[in-house]
Amino acid sequence: MKNKQDFPNINERKPEGQKPDGSKYRVLVVDDSMFVTKQISQILTSEGFDVIGTASDGQDGLDKYKEQYPNVDLVTMDITMPRMDGVTALEKIIEFDKDAKVIMISALGKQDLVKKSLLIGAKNYIVKPLDRAKVLERILMSIR
């Protein structure tokens, strides 16, 4: 007869948002859409990440990054935003912290800006519409 130990327990899976030492990865979400911010935050929170802040434009994102530094492990950065766009904010964040891990969130059709971001130092990018699997895969590739 099989006993309990023979079955894998899905609840024992370590959440993806945890570092090897058990603490949570800290994420700053920069996006001018309340919907996208909520979507990314929900996906990350449900995997055990800690969303330490949100910003609704590039300038706000840059300010919050500096404020939280060095306690930010990852930034998700929308490309098209008012006041300061995501590529400029990325540039300024990398200027401030060359090891910053930034992932660009892009609409379809912005390949040139995505390419530019990767050259500046973005770790990866995700094209909308976002889904859970895509977001987690790209983020984990960038932080590990």
């Binding site: 859409s33 309340m34 919907f35 996208v36 909520k38 979507q39 929900q42 098209t80 609409a107 379809l108 059709g109 912005k110 909308k128 519409p129 889904d131």
Partner: protein, 153 residues
Amino acid sequence: MRVEYINPFVEAAFNILKEVVDSDIKRGELYLKSTSQPVLGVAAIVGLAGDVEGRVLFDMSEVTALAIAGQMNGEELSSFDDLAKATITELANMITAQAVTKLHELGFTFDLTPPAIFTGENMEITDAGVEALIVPIELSQGRMEINVAVRER
């Protein structure tokens, strides 16, 4: 207006709605209007300017908009609040981005405005000198009309 302008919008709407709303989608009969048209209650409008100019309207009733926004957020929304508006804006953004990528591949170059959302009763839209092509799309959440009025410059 040439039908090749509207097809990318219809295809993109299909693809994106299927992906983010996961709805049983059916396309209705395309029709042409040169006079004023009623707006259903919630309309996201995106302007185009360049080789082609005009606007695209994603039009639906407030009940439908709420149901779609609710589905996209994974929760029931009780009023057409800021989150619901941001959700419909994002839906219009995603559909337009995909359609425009296709139109760019076909060789048309133009810029887009960010979507603006109109809400209200008894609204209508008039495009002077441009006829509008309308494609109704039936979702399990209700009907959405894609209303495209563009011309070559």
